[in-house]
């Protein structure tokens, strides 16, 4: 069961023109964000769907990281930070991306939400706003 708060935030995203929906698999709620823009090259296409795990206690509990739709290619091969677990959700395969908030700048309820997290995730594709090397 997806938390009410994330339902409201997905509706707001859709209202702003971003393709998004909630999906559930094995008791876990995910926000599926469609067509997050990526520069191509080096990415194999110009937009990827991503899957953001939503904790049951959202938004007291934070969003962190995301899964990338498979297949993908980066510079013709794999990205060094896309080597996490592979899951199957909504009849598709997704791989966990190692992209988080920096130490000392953790998620803050009321300041961060799904909208800001999607832009944070988009930064991964652009290699921007990273406090350490990929």
């Amino acid at each position: 069961m997806c938390p009410d708060r994330i339902r409201e935030e997905v509706s707001a995203l859709v209202g702003s023109g971003r393709g998004a929906e909630l999906v559930e698999a094995n008791g876990q709620c995910y926000a599926l964000i469609k067509g997050v823009e990526a520069p191509s090259p080096p990415w194999s296409k110009s937009g990827f769907d991503i899957l953001i795990p939503v904790p049951a206690a959202y938004d007291a509990a934070e969003l962190d990281g995301f899964y990338l739709e498979l297949p993908y290619a980066y510079n013709g091969g794999e990205h060094s930070r896309i080597k996490g677990d592979v899951i199957e959700v909504a009849s598709r395969k997704w791989r966990q991306v190692s992209w988080h908030y920096p130490e000392g700048k953790a998620w803050l309820r009321g300041r961060d939400n799904l909208e800001t997290h999607v832009v944070h995730c988009r930064g991964f594709f652009l290699n921007r706003g990273a406090v350490n090397a990929p």
Binding site: A12, L13, G15, S16, G17, R18, E37, P39, G65, S80, R81, I82, K83, G84, S98, W99, H100, Y101, P102, E103, K105, R111, D112, E115, T116, V119, H120, R122, G123, F124, L126, N127, R128, G129, A130, V131, N132, A133, P134
Partner: protein, 179 residues
């Protein structure tokens, strides 16, 4: 004369409307008048959207609550802003006795991520942009970028804000060690 169609900015097809035709004369600020017909039960928002569309513009932000403003006109005089845009043109004309003549004031609306606001001047620094009431993102936490660009916009350097401009505010990220 233009005809009110399904592609109007208000995005509400009027194909099933049965109101009698009402001729409208409207212009966007700095543009010429457009004359067109709408069904008499069309809302003022739909009238506004159609006038903008015929001028080759879109209302901003898109949707039911544009920041652009609709003004009544009497002859060449631009009058007060009309706030109640859900009212039908028929009701409005009957209640006010006004002419079916309008001006759309186009504002410098722009967005950061999905948040729209109106720039109070044509040049603002990223710090000022992030502090605008409807943007409301802490400049200590968020960095402003042009869409798709890698380089951050310098925090205190004013940049040109055009109507419809698009920016992205992003919080820093950290690659995990497990990769």
């Amino acid at each position: 004369m233009g005809h009110f169609g399904a592609e109007n900015v208000a995005e509400r097809p009027l194909g099933h409307r049965h109101g009698r035709p009402q001729v409208i004369l409207a212009r966007a600020t700095g543009h010429g008048f457009e004359e067109f017909e709408v069904p008499s039960d069309a809302t003022l928002l739909e009238v506004m959207g159609e006038a903008a569309r015929l001028t080759g513009l879109g209302l901003l932000p898109p949707g039911d609550r544009p920041f652009d403003r609709l003004h009544a006109m009497r002859g060449d005089d631009v009058l007060q802003t009309i706030d109640e845009l859900k009212e039908s043109i028929e009701e409005y004309l009957r209640a006010t006795g006004a002419e079916p003549r309008f001006e759309i004031e186009l504002v410098r609306a722009f967005r950061v991520n999905t948040r729209w606001d109106v720039a109070p001047s044509d040049r603002l620094s990223p710090k000022e942009i992030l502090a605008l009431p409807k943007i409301d993102l802490d400049y200590k936490e968020f960095t402003l970028y042009l869409p798709g660009k890698h380089e951050p916009l310098p925090l205190d350097t004013p940049i040109l804000i055009e109507r419809g401009a698009d920016f992205e505010a992003q919080r820093d990220g950290r690659y995990g060690w497990e990769g």
